[in-house]
């Protein structure tokens, strides 16, 4: 018996279409409609500016800890832009811009980062189906496979896009989800936002593998690595994966190579574990800057046009902040905590709720705390 190399039918491609200066590789141009290009641009700017405002609110103690998305606008927006409204999105905890694309209001995001479950009720009933954020790293990929199962079960041609980070690929949940999806040929797109860091642990210490995309091969699915700061490349790669899933040809792993420009969450200090040079190196590859350069070159945007968009976005954010703060002022009734643990209020919880109600009455009478 010879010793020979086993030929794999699948290989790992890398895709980049717009370079860091916004120069297009015309052969690869996905030729997106003008309206979509402009909608993507606006959503990316909104994602960035909203992050900056949230950081401000957090620093002033007006909301709690949150996970910024700056730098990852192209990865997440390019990906969700390929979905139909009835497709599912299953996020981790760093996809605010994508959630907004899917119909989530800015007010709802602010409320959620203020800790209020009421945030969920602000989204329109008919918003595209999206799961809430998942804190336990990697766990959401398993839900995505379950949702895909339900789609197939009902013979619907809807697909599921799930997001996760480079760190999440080290969890068992990632591997079990990928394996199930491969075996069941689930209509799932696994979208890894490889932003180079898992809190303070760099990508190089997460896995010895050269790419994260290649992990697809072990599960018998295609994998592709994409310039995650190039929104055109992300759209092109994810659209292909979505099409494959919808056609019944199974899952795909897409690795978007990008960078987390801000802190992991507002609870940490990234200067402690990474250098300014590294951050500056990535700033030069900024996804918004290059996309704007491209759109201006194509005459789809002008400098004054961009300034106007920026202004409109600031107004939109301001309005959301005011709305959310007004709403927050009227929320916070402690008895609300009993509202959603079960579909109905079981007797033991009714008793516990009554206990708290009595305590609140007493404290009001006694001057309160």
């Amino acid at each position: 018996m010879p010793r020979k190399t086993i030929q794999m039918e699948k290989r790992i491609d890398y895709l980049g279409i717009l370079d860091a200066d916004g120069k297009l590789d015309a052969k690869l141009d996905p030729d997106l409609p003008k309206e979509l290009l402009l909608k993507l641009h606006r959503a990316m700017v909104l994602g960035r500016r909203f992050d900056e405002r949230l950081l401000n609110l957090q620093r002033q103690g007006r909301i709690g800890t949150f996970a910024p998305i700056s730098g990852q606008e192209a990865s997440q927006l390019g990906a969700v832009a390929t979905l139909r409204d009835d497709d599912w999105m299953v996020p981790s905890f760093r996809e605010t811009a994508a959630e907004i694309w899917r119909g989530r209001s800015l007010e709802s995001v602010i409320l959620a980062y203020g800790g209020f479950n009421e945030a969920a009720t602000l989204d329109p009933e008919d918003a595209p189906p999206t799961l809430p954020v998942a804190v336990p790293v990697g766990s959401q990929m398993l839900h995505a496979v379950g949702i895909a199962w339900a789609m197939r079960y009902r013979r619907e041609d809807r697909v599921v896009l799930t997001f996760f980070g480079d760190g999440a690929t080290s969890e068992g949940d990632f591997h079990e989800a990928m394996n199930f999806a491969g075996v069941f040929q689930s209509p799932v797109v696994f979208l890894c936002q490889n932003n180079q860091w898992a809190i303070s642990v760099p990508r190089s210490k997460q896995t010895r593998a050269r790419t994260l995309a290649q992990k697809a091969l072990a599960y018998g699915m295609p994998g592709i690595q994409v310039d995650g700061n190039d929104v055109l490349a992300v759209v092109a790669a994810v659209a292909e994966a979505v099409e494959r899933a919808r056609a019944g040809d199974g899952p795909t792993l897409v690795e978007c190579v990008t960078y987390r420009m801000m802190m992991h969450t507002t609870a940490d200090d990234p200067k402690r574990y990474r250098s300014d040079e590294e951050v500056e190196g990535w700033r030069a590859k900024d996804p918004i800057k290059r996309f704007e350069a491209y759109l201006v070159k194509r005459k789809l945007l002008t400098k004054p046009g961009i300034a106007k968009i920026e202004e409109e976005i600031q107004g939109q954010i301001q309005q959301a902040v005011e709305g959310a703060e007004k709403r927050m002022a009227s929320l916070g009734d402690p008895l609300e905590m009993f509202a959603h643990a079960y579909a109905e209020l079981p007797p033991h919880l009714e008793a516990q709720r009554e206990e708290l109600a009595a305590e609140l009455r007493d404290s009001r009478e006694g001057g309160g705390r």
């Binding site: 709690g64 800890t65 479950n117 949940d173 303070s200 642990v201 200090d269 402690p334 643990a341």
Partner: protein, 325 residues
Amino acid sequence: MQTLRMGQAINQALREEMLRDPDVFLAGEGIGVGIHHSPLLPTAGLLKDFGAGRVKDTPVSEAAIAGLAVGAAVAGLRPVVEIMFNPFFTLASDMIVNHAAKLRYLSGGKSSFPLVVRMKSGAGFGAGCQHSHNLEAWAAHCPGLKVVMPSTPADAKGLLKSAIRDPNPVIFIEDLALYFVPGPVPEEEVMIPIGQAEVKRPGKDVTVVTWSKMVGVALEAADQLARENIGMEVVDLRTLVPMDKETLLASVRKTGRLVVLHEATRTGGFAGEVAAVVMEEAFAHLQAPLRRVTGPDIPVPASPPLERFYLPSAEKLMAAVREIL
């Protein structure tokens, strides 16, 4: 005496044990290169002083971290591993519940699993229910595990040192809020045996049994009730498994009244176990029904105004005490 915060006291314990025993090593997510400069955190500075061979930052893999501890322990090392937050215990739990806790038994006592799993717990940070969820009762329900939840810097130091030297797997749960609370710690070696409760404040009228962050709440209530001439005895269990029944029962026999206080949710909570022991062994001494003061049976709310009322408070505890006096 030195004054240390609990995070620093844990740091000292780790440091001293690593110096004493070259087989002690640490592993966890971000335990070496952390996200803060704060010297108050438990593993601050250890990477620098002991090197990456003994202070291992791992990939995000709780099952593998716990499994590493199980394997390294049976091969003769003394792993002290960290699971970032108590709810992520679920991801590590197969290794802990089905392996660390059972393999000595299955090996007829031949194999030993001297490992420590440190976990942060405790609500109060607006971090929401997937970060804040006190699961000590789960661990306590698994035969083969010891469960420790200290309330003071000195206890944390002394108990962690004992945990590291213990031949059994020990779940060591640290309340995040306590990391920053100062307390006296002896300069000389402190060793506090696992399985010993401590009366943190003597009193004649009512016994409050509690642990971890809630000890502070109990002491606050005791101070206030003292002004009304009500003597509250505060028993800090410190170790849930094995439980120090003697101290607990002696106190109940003396006061005749019991309130059990914990932050974790009520149903299936460890207060039920404490209550059962008292009913079985000191029923005749009880002059009133016992009471439980606990978190309600719901996920921890993230919103600060709700979370504040979720956490048991001195007011809630005093109300329970008054009910049975």
